[in-house]
């Protein structure tokens, strides 16, 4: 089956710094969805891209290189409230999502 890996596993930033989270996968895909989850919280969709196009949403940008099977989530000017787990889920034709293990982001004041 498809393998999805995220890096780094954890990341600690000072408030205001930028972050880049990586997601690599083993097969050609049709879409990418990035999620955010606080401890014990709901899985919240951040960005969704139906193709390998750059997607922007406020301080978040998702970009991908289709020939490298890799996608990145960029968080600019990080805030303390950005702390949590970020999950990537490349989407195959069947519609079922295969999730990476997540990156735990901690933003300190």
């Amino acid at each position: 089956g498809q393998q999805v890996e995220q890096s780094p596993a954890s990341l600690v930033l000072q408030e205001g710094e930028n972050a880049e989270l990586q997601c690599t996968y083993s097969t050609t895909l049709n879409s990418m969805q990035w999620f955010y989850q606080r401890p014990g919280g709901r899985l919240v969709s951040l960005l969704y891209s139906p193709s390998w196009a750059e997607q922007r949403g406020g301080r978040l940008t998702s970009s991908a290189a289709s020939n490298e099977s890799r996608s990145s989530l960029h968080i600019s000017s990080s805030q303390i409230t950005d702390s949590g787990t970020y999950l990537c889920a490349p989407g195959p034709n069947t519609g079922k999502l295969t999730f990476g293990d997540g990156t735990v982001l901690t933003v300190k004041p």
Partner: protein
């Protein structure tokens, strides 16, 4: 309010008991999913239904059985729970061709 709703929020039970979880979506989607999130926060697909028809059935123990009465409802029954079933069960929905999925708040199951 349009969203994905799950009940119960929490459930504590003992090994061997039967449990049922409910999921309802009011987003007008035609496809619903069950995911399992373990203690390490790893998320894995279990089942997917499109208009009451099972379309994805990953390798899960046979004690797990999904049930769908219509495209807006998808339930999950676990017969004779085991300790390894302790996890958060997440329900999601989408349009079949869109792949962007919306998740419910989850049901946390603890098996003693």
């Amino acid at each position: 309010e349009t969203a994905v709703f799950q009940t119960p929020n929490y459930h504590v039970t003992q090994v061997g008991n039967e449990v049922s979880f409910n999921c309802k979506q009011t987003l007008g989607h035609d496809t619903m999913y069950w995911y399992k999130q373990d203690s390490k926060k790893l998320l894995k697909i279990m089942f997917s239904y499109n208009n009451k028809q099972l379309i994805v059935n990953e390798t899960v123990p046979r004690r797990f059985s999904p049930q769908s009465s219509d495209k807006a409802h998808l339930n999950l029954r676990i017969k004779s729970v085991e300790p390894e079933d302790s996890a958060v069960y997440l329900c999601a929905s989408s349009y079949l061709g869109a792949y962007e999925q919306y998740f419910g708040p989850g049901t946390r199951l603890t098996v003693l």
